[in-house]
């Protein structure tokens, strides 16, 4: 993005500045990368609760008698399995089976679906869905109307329940309710990107600041921290959740990214299906694998990965794991090397460092 392009701001921009956040440009959005520090914020989410402004994420609404038909055609997962109030992780795929985006599909009603999409992809996604729409359905780009807040951590439920009459404990994982939070209409989804229990709220932009402030107040007794994109990234990496532009992109398919479970080949025709069927027959050329560094070197995105002195893959995300106190990462490797216990070499700037392929997720919360 050229520097002169106008930077987009969320409705909480001023609130972040008042909290002393360090702001960065994240794919055209001015976003908080940290407040008190990435480690501090990371531990707050693992141990109690943190709140994130993720209003840069996009929202697209699909409505009409054939809304389901359109959703089924443009996404890989089976939206017919959703009841109203349920959500699923899914993907928009191109004709080669590569990711246009990874998304969450919420079923609001029989004729009404609400898609949460990545900030950097939202315009692309909207065009993609609109172009594919030859059904009796409308596609609306509604990102501007919504702020999105993520309340994550073992004390997320205790924090948020103070602000609503809704019984949040009844919302199961990957389900949502439309209820008021401090009198503000909210879509309350039990979803997240941290590997912890928690909620994502979709609220009208104009109410973002009052809700944000009240969440910080309500969470004070649990030691709530406002959290930035830095902690969001370390948390999702420990949980081995894909980040668009890193683990997944236009050239990577769900089977390669260990996301075969979001592809339902038998649900009927959908975009990308033909290429995926071919890949199922031929097998994948590369596979996403988790690794742990054996020494103190830290692998970072795009470092080369080698086996027996030959370059065989690349790091998609890497860094220190604050919870596990080890240096971890994800990488693409030919399937024969993407096996537990395999030793690989990572080219870390000026030296070579050994790493071992380990199970993912690196971190799994106790239920």
């Amino acid at each position: 993005m050229p520097e002169f392009a106008s930077v987009k701001r969320t409705p909480l921009n001023a609130a972040h500045r008042r909290l002393g956040a360090k702001m960065i440009n994240f794919s055209g959005w001015e976003m908080p990368v940290q407040y008190s520090g990435i480690l501090d914020e990371h531990h707050a989410v693992r141990r109690s609760v943190g709140v994130f402004d993720v209003s840069h994420m996009g929202e697209i609404e699909i409505r009409g008698p054939e809304a389901l038909t359109l959703v089924q055609y443009v996404t890989a997962n089976d939206a017919a399995r959703l009841e109203p109030g349920a959500a699923q992780y899914s993907a928009l795929l191109n004709e080669n089976g590569g990711f246009v985006d990874d998304i969450i599909v919420h079923k609001v009603a029989q004729d009404h679906y609400f898609l949460c999409v990545n900030a950097a992809n939202q315009e692309k996604d909207y065009d993609y869905i609109r172009t594919a729409n030859c059904f009796v359905a409308t596609v609306e780009f509604i990102s501007g109307r919504y702020a999105q807040l993520a309340i994550q951590g073992p004390s997320a439920l205790s924090t948020l329940r103070k602000l609503t009459a809704a019984d949040l404990s009844l919302i199961r994982r990957y389900h949502f309710l439309d209820r008021e939070i401090i009198g503000v209409p909210a879509r309350i989804a039990r979803t997240g990107y941290t590997g912890e229990d928690g909620f994502e709220l979709y609220i009208p932009s104009e109410s973002a600041e009052v809700v944000w402030d009240r969440i910080l107040d309500a969470g004070q007794e649990f030691g709530i921290k406002p959290c930035g994109l830095g902690a969001r990234n370390t948390l999702r990496l420990e949980a081995a959740m894909a980040l668009y532009g890193h683990e997944i992109n236009d050239f990577i398919t769900p089977f390669e990214a260990n996301l075969g479970w979001i592809v339902k080949m038998n649900k009927g025709e959908f975009l990308g299906r033909r290429a995926l069927a071919r890949q199922l027959e031929e097998g994948v050329q590369r596979k996403l694998a988790g690794f742990q560094m054996r020494g103190r070197s830290i692998a970072r995105d795009s470092y080369k990965v080698m086996v027996n002195g030959r370059e065989v893959g690349w790091v998609t995300s890497g860094g220190p794991s604050p919870t596990l106190n080890r240096n971890i990462g994800l990488c693409y490797l030919p399937p024969e090397f993407a096996v537990l216990g395999q030793l690989v070499t990572v080219a870390v700037r000026d030296h070579l460092a050994e790493a071992e392929i380990v199970p993912t997720p690196f971190y799994k919360r106790e239920k």
Binding site: I38, L39, N233, T234, I298, G319, P320, R349
Partner: protein, 127 residues
């Protein structure tokens, strides 16, 4: 904030002179920009470093950054404390979080560095 007896680089390192030995570190501003520091990669004693060239790197949670030598010379000592407590770089960048000691090969190089007030003006201009 920035000690008067230090000299500073545009890359946010500092050097403090005692005789012909310079103690080198990164500035308060540098550690703040880097965020939580988790690992420091330093040269070995006896190695020669050259002004403006990479002498090592600092890994924060988020990224890795090069450290540039503010002066040329031989590395006399490295701060062993940082191996187990890299967070000292965040907590006390101008004191306990020093990186290495160098015997300067050309003390005239110091003239190219900024004084505390020049560095502060530079930070102001940098934004």
């Amino acid at each position: 904030m920035y000690p008067e007896n230090f000299r500073y680089t545009k890359e946010h390192e500092w050097v403090r002179m005692e005789g012909d030995t310079g103690t080198v570190g990164i500035t308060f501003h540098a550690q703040k920009e880097l965020g939580d520091i988790v690992y420091v990669d330093l040269p070995k004693p006896g190695q020669h470093v050259e002004q403006g060239k990479t002498l090592g790197s600092v890994e924060s949670v988020k990224a890795v950054s090069d450290i540039y030598a503010p002066v040329s010379g031989e590395v006399l000592e490295i701060n062993e404390l940082l191996a187990d407590a890299p967070e000292k770089l965040n907590q006390d960048p101008h004191g306990e979080g020093w990186l290495i000691k160098i015997r300067l090969s050309d003390p005239r190089e110091l003239e190219q560095l900024m004084t505390a007030s020049e560095y502060q003006a530079y930070l102001g201009a940098e934004g």
